[in-house]
């Protein structure tokens, strides 16, 4: 008789009751599970430690000879520097409240993707060298030694955490696994392990200002093209002020909004809004990247890339900085900027809206205002003429990007704006939004195409909630305020809820914005026909005040 495996044998990825302890089951580096490694020359240019060629799928990762010493020393140094890290290592009681709160765990069923066990990967090493019991009792109290497979495991799971902080919301002690992941990534960099998708943008940002390394003159040309497109849609060519000294406001946004679809439509939205307000502002070719890819690398790299903002604010002698729709850019500004590079240059003052006179007291220290707050304030004071009817063909929901929502509490302002510019707004289920929002599955430098299937399983809880409102309420659009989301959510929506489009908030604002002297709007910023608007009807809508 033919000897074939039974279905049970076929589907068992591992025996139902593994003989091995969970800590001893090692990850398999199959294609699609890991990001491509950073190039040696990139790491050299950035003066990163131990640059070398390596392949995550290979047995030997080419670690430096003294790798264990390097890692132990680096870990000890971080424990000394970050009191929080030491606390996080010490106080977890293994209550399990965080266990099922991570989207990676929900999508993969991999125990090491439970935040508590993700942290335990490092904690077990901590126990051996930094706790009395661990030193004496070793394995009996969950301590373990470094070996090369442990390094691989740390890499595997540090890049299956999007540093979204959802788990910390549920931890009674506030243990922030995201910060543990950040430290693990830092440690790995000490032995030359980084990923291409993160380090290439870090290099480009370091040398040319933006993540794709577009030269200043080309950057200006690309923005000019977007202004041309604005004119095609509205009949008005918005100003594109660059490097203007003594402007009141410096505007900084992620460069993804200048280069990528559909982010560019959000950028066009900014240009049109600022033009309509006749804002005294400037863009910069030096600080042409709001996103901080350094924050996925190490605290020092984040600090270095962040420094550009204040340096440019000082050089251009602006009063304050307005920041575009971005996620990690705001996490860095809100959580770290003051310590990294503060205080702000002396020429800067606490921001006040030039249109409404509202002082942004929350930004008194950093001198940086989020555009959702800025626009919400405009709408609240009735300073914008809006025709939300132009967005009537969409039924939109709102994705709370992890960083602005959990990282800085920006929950109501974007909703306030969205509801003012769209008549049809539906929330996703309560435990998937606001502070409890589910990550897009590809933040913190994971939105690279080689791990698309990993991203789809990690983004499953978000995709699932989106699909729910699509089926229940006919939702066909999802707005967000993060440039990485604008890149990661379209494939996620296309997989889990096909038919839902994704855009930034200010794309919708500009679509609804009735501008002074504009031509009849027959299309939206994507140059797609506005349904139900024929040329004659549009006449009635023409013009502002």
């Amino acid at each position: 008789m033919a000897k074939l495996p039974t279905p049970q044998e076929l589907i068992a990825t591992r025996p139902p009751f593994p003989k091995a302890h969970w800590l001893d089951v090692k990850p398999e580096f199959a294609p699609g599970c890991f990001c491509y490694p950073a190039k040696k020359e990139t790491m050299e240019l950035l003066h990163m430690p131990n640059p070398h060629e390596w392949d995550p799928a290979a047995d030997d990762w080419g670690l430096p000879e003294n790798w264990e010493q390097v890692l132990c020393d680096a870990f000890a140094e971080r424990l000394e520097k970050h009191r929080s890290l030491k606390l996080f290592m010490d106080i977890c009681v293994r209550c399990g409240a965080c266990a099922d709160k991570c989207h990676f765990f929900l999508g993969t069923n991999d125990p090491k993707n439970m935040p508590v066990l993700r942290a335990e990967l490092l904690r077990s090493l901590y126990r051996r060298d930094h706790t009395m019991l661990g030193k004496i009792l070793g394995k009996a109290v969950g301590a373990r030694s470094w070996d090369k497979s442990v390094v691989k495991e740390l890499f595997y799971y540090a890049y299956q955490c999007t540093e979204c902080r959802r788990c910390s919301l549920f931890c009674p002690y506030g243990i922030d696994t995201a910060e543990i992941t950040m430290i693990v990534r830092e440690l790995l960099h000490e032995v030359g392990l980084g990923t291409h998708w993160i380090m290439d943008p870090v290099k480009n940002c370091s040398f040319t200002g933006n993540h794709l390394g577009i030269q200043p003159h080309s950057f200006v040309e690309i923005v000019e093209m977007l202004a041309d497109d604005c004119e095609t849609v509205t009949g008005i060519r918005p100003k594109t002020p660059f490097n203007k000294k003594n402007a009141e406001i410096l505007f900084i946004t992620p460069s993804g909004d200048v280069f990528a679809d559909p982010g560019i439509y959000t950028f066009m939205g900014y240009l049109l809004l600022f033009h309509e307000l006749d804002l005294d502002y400037t863009l910069s070719t030096y600080a042409s990247e709001g996103g901080n890819f350094g924050s996925f690398t190490s605290f020092n790299m984040a600090k270095k890339l962040n420094a550009k903002m204040y340096a440019e604010a000082e050089r251009l002698n602006v009063k304050w900085i307005l920041g575009g729709e971005c996620g990690h850019m705001w996490r860095v500004i809100n959580q770290y900027m003051d310590t990294y590079n503060g205080p702000a240059p002396a020429n800067m003052i606490p921001p006040v809206s030039p249109v409404t006179g509202t002082p942004f007291a929350n930004a008194a220290s950093t001198k940086m205002v989020h555009i959702a707050e800025f626009t919400a304030d405009l709408i609240y004071h009735n300073k914008l003429k809006l025709d939300p009817g132009r967005n009537d063909h969409i039924i939109t929901t709102f994705h709370d990007s992890c960083n602005p929502s959990r990282g800085m509490g920006l929950l109501d302002e974007p909703r306030y704006v969205l509801k003012a510019v769209c008549n049809n707004f539906v929330e996703m289920p309560e435990n998937t939004i606001r502070e409890q929002t589910f990550c897009c599955g590809a933040g913190s430098g994971l939105n690279t195409e080689e791990i698309m299937e990993l991203r789809m399983r990690a983004g499953m809880p978000r995709g699932n909630a989106l699909r729910h409102v699509q089926q229940q309420f006919g939702v066909n659009h999802m707005a967000c305020i993060c440039a990485i989301d604008r890149a990661t959510l379209p494939p996620l929506a296309n997989y889990w809820a096909p038919g839902v489009t994704v855009s930034g908030l200010h794309e919708l604002v500009a679509n609804a914005l009735v501008m002074t002297g504009e031509q009849k709007r027959t299309m939206d910023l994507r140059q797609e026909d506005l349904p139900g608007v024929d040329e004659d009807e549009a006449d009635g809508r023409e013009g502002g005040e």
């Binding site: 990825t13 929900l106 125990p111 679809d261 559909p262 494939p491 997989y495």
Partner: protein, 174 residues
Amino acid sequence: MNLLEYFRNDKEDILRLWTGAVYAASPFETKGLLRTVTDPFGNPGADMIREAAGALYDAVAGEETTAADVKSAMERFVKLRAVQQGTPSQALGVFYLLKPVMRERLLPHCSTPDDVNDYLTAESRLDSLALLAFDMYMAARETLAESRVKEIRNQHAQITRWARAFRGGSFIAG
């Protein structure tokens, strides 16, 4: 009782056994959470199994249903299997785990040749549904492949437009 009635009577039990067998393929440490957390958004994976299992079972039993309805109930589950780590046979083999459970719980009730015939027809329906799932699995993998290509294009979309305009000479460099 005819076979359909046995199917209806034993539905809860059989589905519990089947989903248990599906969970058994997951690592031991995670099974408790998968089984016990019932919030459809807090534990979406389990909700997907639940939805798929119910519809699949009814279709196998011979209840009134359409291929489109069963497909839509199985879709989320199949899509999840399509992006979880493992081979295609691991992803879709779970459907065949229903067979041994059915044989254990339902086949003994089949005493006449007609009953056995009905039973075999039910198993054949399961085979057809697994084939439907295979179509969905492949469509999901196609979507993934397309997404990869599209994403690379989107990342540089505006730069490509700029380069074209620039090279075409219709754009004057500033």
